[in-house]
C-alpha cells in the first residue's frame, strides 16, 4: 500500500492528486467501453466489419490513454506548460499538413496519419491560454493578455479552414471563459459576446453547412428530409424507446438506424438500452467532475493552475454538454464527441492528455512553492 509515511515518488503523487477526479475519469473510460458495446455493433455491421470491431479498438486505445493520463498527471506546472507548447506546435503542424495533404472526409480535411490533430490542439491551447492570462495577471510587464488575445485567431483560423465549426466554437468559448475568469473589464465580455454573435451570424450567412444545420434545428418540419433532422429525431426516438429503465444491453432497436450511434449519438443509444435514469446518472458524473473541479480551481492560489484547471474543465464540460444537448434536441447538430464515452482513438488520447493536465495542475502543492512561482512584485497586492 501507499503509505503517507513513505516519501516515495508514487506516494507523493498519490497523496497530492485529486483521487476523486482520477476515479471519475477511470469510471468514465470503463463506461465508454461498456457503452461502445451498445453503440458500435450496428455501425460495424453496416460497414461490413465484425460486430465488436470498434469495441476491441476502444479497449486497445484505453491502455495508452490511461498511461498518458497518469503519466502526464505526474508533471509539475512548468512541465505541463512545456508539454502543452510541444503538443500545440506538433498539433498545429499536423493540422496544416492535413489541410494540404489530408483526405477529405465528409467535406472536411481533419485527418492525417490516422489521427485528428485538432483534438490534441484543444487541451494544449487551453493550457497555453491559461499560461498567457496568468502571466498577464501576475506580471504587468509581460504582454500576457495580448498574447492570450492573439492566441485565439492563431488557433482558430486553421480550424476554420478545415472547416470545423464545432471545434472552433468550443475553443472560442473556452477562451472566452478564461478571459472572463482572468478578471477582464466587463466591457470586454460584452464586446466578445457581440463578436461571437457576429461570428455565428457570418457562419450562418456564408457557410451553407452551418446554415442548413441551424435551419434544420429551428424548423424541423421544413428540413424534414435533411439527415440532421433525421439523426436528431431518431435520437429522440431512442430515448422514447428506452423509457426510464431502458430495453437492456443489446436490446436496442432504434440504434440500428441511428447514424453515428457509436460516436456523436452514443448518449441516445445509452438512453435506449440503459434507460433515462442511467442517462441522468451519467450526466451527474460529468456534472460532478466539472462542478467539483471548478470549485477546487476557484480555491487554487496559483493563477496558472487556477486558469488552466478552469479552462480544461470548461472544455471538458462544454464538450459533454454540447454533445448531450444535441442528443436531447436542445441544440442544432454539432460534430462533438461525448468525452471518454464516444468511440474514437484521437479523441480518447487527447482527452486523456487533457485529463492528465488537469490532474497535474490541480495537485496539492506546498504554499511556499506556489508563492515562489507566483512572484508577485513588491508593493502590489496578489
Amino acid at each position: 500500500m501507499i503509505s503517507r509515511a513513505e516519501r516515495s515518488q508514487l506516494a507523493r503523487w498519490w497523496w497530492t492528486v485529486d483521487q476523486w477526479q482520477i476515479g471519475a475519469f477511470l469510471v468514465l473510460m470503463a463506461l465508454g467501453l461498456i457503452l461502445s458495446m451498445a453503440g458500435s455493433p450496428p455501425v460495424a455491421e453496416r460497414i461490413g466489419l465484425p460486430p465488436f470491431h470498434f469495441v476491441h479498438r476502444q479497449a486497445m486505445y484505453l491502455v495508452p490513454a490511461i498511461i498518458i493520463m497518469l503519466g502526464v498527471s505526474t508533471l509539475d506546472p512548468r512541465q505541463v506548460r512545456r508539454a502543452s507548447l510541444v503538443t500545440y506546435a506538433g498539433a498545429m503542424l499536423a493540422i496544416l499538413l492535413a489541410l494540404k495533404f489530408g483526405h477529405e472526409i465528409k467535406g472536411a480535411r481533419r485527418w492525417i496519419f490516422g489521427i485528428q490533430p485538432s483534438e490534441f490542439l484543444k487541451p494544449a491551447f487551453v493550457v497555453l491560454a491559461a499560461w498567457a492570462f496568468s502571466e498577464g495577471a501576475k506580471q504587468k510587464k509581460m504582454p500576457g493578455t495580448t498574447i492570450a488575445i492573439l492566441l485565439l485567431p492563431l488557433t482558430v483560423i486553421p480550424l476554420l479552414l478545415q472547416p470545423d465549426f464545432g471545434q472552433t466554437m468550443l475553443i472560442s468559448l473556452v477562451w472566452a471563459a478564461l478571459f472572463l475568469v482572468a478578471g477582464v473589464h466587463i466591457l470586454w465580455i460584452v464586446g466578445i459576446g457581440g463578436l461571437g454573435a457576429i461570428g455565428v451570424l457570418l457562419a450562418y450567412k456564408l457557410s451553407p453547412h452551418v446554415h442548413q444545420r441551424i435551419i434544420s434545428f429551428l424548423d424541423p418540419q421544413a428540413a424534414h428530409l435533411g439527415t440532421n433532422a433525421f439523426q436528431v429525431e431518431t435520437a429522440l426516438d431512442s430515448f422514447y424507446s428506452g423509457g426510464w429503465l431502458g430495453r437492456g444491453p443489446g436490446g436496442g432497436v432504434i440504434k440500428r438506424i441511428l447514424p453515428d450511434s457509436h460516436t456523436d449519438f452514443i448518449f441516445a443509444v445509452t438512453g435506449e438500452e440503459f434507460g433515462i435514469l442511467f442517462c441522468i446518472a451519467l450526466m451527474a458524473l460529468f456534472a460532478f467532475v466539472v462542478l467539483r473541479g471548478l470549485r477546487r480551481a476557484s480555491r487554487d492560489e496559483d493563477p496558472f493552475c487556477r486558469f488552466a484547471a478552469t479552462g480544461l474543465l470548461v472544455q471538458f464540460g462544454l464538450q459533454s454538454c454540447i454533445n448531450m444537448a444535441v442528443n436531447l434536441d436542445l441544440m442544432p447538430a454539432k460534430g462533438m464527441t461525448l468525452p471518454f464515452i464516444s468511440y474514437g482513438g484521437s479523441s480518447l488520447m487527447a482527452l486523456a492528455l487533457g485529463a492528465g493536465f488537469l490532474i497535474a495542475v490541480t495537485r496539492k502543492r506546498p504554499r511556499s512553492e506556489v508563492l515562489l512561482e507566483t512572484e508577485v512584485p513588491a508593493g502590489l497586492p496578489a
Partner: protein, 594 residues
C-alpha cells in the same frame, strides 16, 4: 479596478492622451482577486445547463412509450365499431365486417426496399412508392394495407419479417351497393363516417365515446333505423336510371316523402357512387342533387304562390284573374307558355300554368307579405336534415316587385328540391310544415315538430288543384288510374352565362298520392333532358319527369300499401264543397275548369 494598475502601462502608451491611455490600461489589465467569483459564476452556468438537460431527460421519460406504442398507435388507428344501419322494415343497409389489416413498424424494418418489393408483389399494390415512403416515416406504426385476404395474410406471414404485423380490423359493408348511397354516405378507412347518415351518426357522439377510450363493440350498438324503404328505393333508382338513359339527361334525381310524418321513404340522385368503394367520394358530378343542389323549381312553385293568396284571402277559388294580355312591369313582359288571352279562375291559372295569373295573385299580396310567407314556408333559409350535405337557397338581393313577380312562377329563386317538396308536403297535408327526416318516426312525433302554415281549406284547395291538373292539365302522364293522383309540372330554362338558355332545361315534377287523403309526395327532377321523337321533340317536364314519376307510382304504390281502387272517391274535397264549390267533387271539375 484598482488605480495602481495604471502605473506600469503608462510608459508604453505615452503617445496616447492621458485619459485614453488610462482606459486602455484598465481594459487590458486582468485581475486575480475576483477570478474565484467568476469561476463560481462559470460553475453556476454549468449547473444550470446540467439542470436543463436533466429536466429534458425527465420530460422525455414521461413522454415516452414508443415501443409499447405499437399497441397504443394501433388503438388510435383501429377502425371504430359502428352501428348497423337498417331500413324502415329492419332490412340491412350497412354493417361492419371483420377483416384483417397489415401494418408495419418502420423502426424494425432494416431493408425497406426489399420489404416494399415483397409486399407490393403479394398485395398487388398500385403505388409501391407510397408504401416505401410510409416505411421511411419516423413513426412507430404505419398501415401497409387495410383489409387483406386470408391468402395474402398467409403469404405475408411466411415472409417472416419482424417489422410487419396483423391486426383484426373492421370494414364498413353496404350489401345493397349504390342503393340509397346518397342517404347512407360512406366511411373512410378508419371507419369514420365522412358523408351522409354515416357522418350524422358520428356527429351524434359515437366518436367521442371512442375518443374517450370506451371500448365500443359492434354488437353493443343499437342499429340505426332509417325512414328509407329499401324496395321503394330500388324502384326509384331503377326508373331514374332508365329515364337518364332514355332522355339523355345529364343527371336526374327523385324522392318520395311521407307527407303525414315528413319521413323520406326513398331518395336517389344519379349519377351516384358505390359506398363500398367511394373512390373520389362525392364530387360536383355525383353529389346529392335533392339536398346539396339548389335549382329554380319553375311552375312547381306556383302551388306555394296560390296557397299564399288563398291563405291571405286575396283570392278565392272562383276568383277570376286577368290573363287577357301579357303582364308588363317596367321594361319586362310576362308571357304565358300556354296563352289563353282571357280571364282565368284560380284552377284554370293552375291547369294552364299561367305565369300572368300567378303573378297577379302575388302582386295582390305584395312584396313584404310574399317574403314573409316564403320565410314561413322555409324557402329562404338552408334546410337542415340529418344529411350533412345541404345547400342554402339563392335568393335575390335586393328583392324588388319584379323579383316577386318572377318568383311567383318559380324563377329567380333557387332552392333544394327536397326543400320544395317539404313546402308542398306542408301545404297539402292539412297545413303542417315539417322538416323532412331520414330517421323513422310516427305522425305524433312529426306533428310535435311541425308548424302550421295554412288553413285546412287552403290545403284542400291545393290538393284539388293538383288533382284537376292530373285529370285535365299538364300532369296527365302521372295520373295512374286507381290512385287518385294529383300533380304539377315545372320546367325552368337553365341559366347559362347569366342568360336563360332556351334549349337547356331543368324539369321538375311533383305528384301527390292520393290527392284526397294525401299520403305520399313523389318528386323527380331532370337536368337537361333532351326532346325525343316519342315526345314530339318536347323536353318539358310532363314528357320526362312526369313520365318517370308515373312509372315510379305504378311500381311503388303497391309496396307502400296503397291499393288501386276501381271507383273514384265520392266526396274527395268536402271543405271546398261546403264553401259552395260543388264542382270540385265531380270528375274533370264538372266542366267548370277549361
Amino acid at each position: 479596478m484598482l488605480p495602481q494598475d495604471d502605473q506600469p502601462q503608462k510608459a508604453r502608451s505615452a503617445v496616447l492622451p492621458p485619459k485614453l491611455s488610462a482606459l486602455k490600461a484598465r481594459m487590458l489589465s486582468t485581475h486575480l482577486h475576483n477570478s474565484d467569483k467568476r469561476i463560481n459564476f462559470v460553475a453556476v452556468c454549468f449547473l444550470g445547463v446540467f439542470a436543463i438537460m436533466a429536466g429534458r431527460l425527465v420530460q422525455l421519460g414521461f413522454k415516452g412509450g414508443l415501443p409499447g406504442g405499437v399497441k397504443g398507435a394501433a388503438d388510435q388507428e383501429l377502425s371504430a365499431a359502428r352501428p348497423d344501419i337498417v331500413d324502415r322494415h329492419g332490412r340491412l343497409l350497412a354493417t361492419d365486417v371483420r377483416t384483417v389489416s397489415v401494418f408495419a413498424e418502420p423502426g424494425k424494418i432494416i431493408d425497406k426496399n426489399k420489404v416494399t418489393d415483397e409486399l407490393t408483389r403479394i398485395l398487388s399494390l398500385k403505388h409501391p412508392e407510397a408504401l416505401r415512403h410510409r416505411l421511411g416515416m419516423r413513426k412507430g406504426f404505419v398501415w401497409v394495407k387495410r383489409t387483406i385476404t386470408p391468402r395474402q395474410r398467409e403469404e405475408i406471414f411466411q415472409l417472416g419479417e419482424p417489422g410487419i404485423g396483423f391486426l383484426p380490423d373492421l370494414k364498413r359493408f353496404y350489401p345493397n351497393g349504390p342503393l340509397a348511397a346518397h342517404v347512407l354516405g360512406f366511411t373512410n378507412e378508419d371507419n369514420r363516417g365522412i358523408a351522409g347518415i354515416e357522418k350524422y351518426i358520428d356527429e351524434q357522439g359515437l366518436m367521442s365515446l371512442h375518443g374517450a377510450g370506451f371500448e365500443v363493440k359492434h354488437e353493443d350498438l343499437k342499429p340505426v333505423k332509417l325512414s328509407i324503404d329499401l324496395d321503394v328505393t330500388q324502384v326509384l333508382r331503377d326508373e331514374l336510371e332508365k329515364g337518364l338513359v332514355k332522355f339523355k339527361a345529364k343527371s336526374d334525381a327523385g324522392a318520395i316523402l311521407d307527407v303525414r310524418t315528413g319521413e323520406v321513404i326513398a331518395l336517389e340522385s344519379l349519377p351516384d357512387f358505390d359506398p363500398n368503394d367511394p373512390g373520389k367520394g362525392v364530387t360536383a358530378v355525383n353529389k346529392n342533387r335533392m339536398t346539396a343542389g339548389v335549382y329554380e323549381m319553375g311552375s312547381t312553385f306556383k302551388s306555394i304562390s296560390i296557397a299564399m293568396a288563398l291563405q291571405d284571402d286575396k283570392v278565392k277559388l272562383g276568383s277570376r284573374l286577368d290573363a287577357t294580355h301579357n303582364l308588363h312591369y317596367g321594361r319586362f313582359t310576362i308571357h304565358d307558355y300556354d296563352a289563353t288571352h282571357r280571364m282565368l279562375t284560380v284552377p284554370e291559372v293552375f291547369v294552364h300554368s299561367s305565369n300572368i295569373g300567378t303573378a297577379r295573385m302575388v302582386l295582390r299580396v305584395g312584396v313584404p307579405g310574399h317574403k314573409a310567407f316564403l320565410r314561413k314556408m322555409g324557402m329562404l333559409t338552408r334546410m337542415k336534415t340529418e344529411l350533412p350535405e345541404s345547400a342554402a337557397p339563392i335568393i335575390p338581393h335586393p328583392w324588388s316587385t319584379l323579383n316577386s313577380i318572377t318568383i311567383a312562377f318559380g324563377q329567380g329563386i333557387n332552392v333544394a328540391p327536397l326543400q320544395a317538396m317539404a313546402a308542398v308536403a306542408g301545404l297539402v297535408n292539412g297545413g303542417n310544415l315539417m322538416v323532412p327526416t331520414f330517421l323513422k318516426r310516427d305522425q305524433a312525433q312529426a306533428l310535435k315538430v311541425s308548424k302550421n302554415v295554412v288553413r285546412p281549406d287552403v290545403s284542400e284547395a291545393i290538393r284539388y288543384l293538383m288533382r284537376i291538373n292530373a285529370e285535365i292539365g299538364s300532369a296527365k302522364k302521372a295520373n295512374i288510374p286507381g290512385y287518385f293522383v294529383g300533380g304539377k309540372t315545372g320546367t325552368a330554362d337553365k341559366i347559362i352565362h347569366g342568360r336563360y338558355a332556351n334549349n337547356k332545361v331543368f324539369t321538375t315534377f311533383m305528384a301527390l298520392v292520393p290527392a284526397n287523403k294525401p299520403k305520399y309526395l313523389f318528386m323527380v327532377i331532370m337536368n337537361e333532358p333532351q326532346g325525343l321523337k316519342s315526345t314530339f321533340g318536347f323536353h318539358t317536364a310532363a314528357w320526362n319527369s312526369g313520365e318517370i314519376t308515373g312509372k315510379v307510382i305504378t311500381r311503388a304504390a303497391p309496396m307502400l300499401g296503397l291499393a288501386p281502387e276501381d271507383v273514384l272517391p265520392k266526396a274527395p274535397f268536402p271543405l271546398l264543397a261546403a264553401q259552395g264549390y260543388t264542382y270540385v267533387n265531380q270528375p274533370n271539375g264538372g266542366g267548370m275548369v277549361d
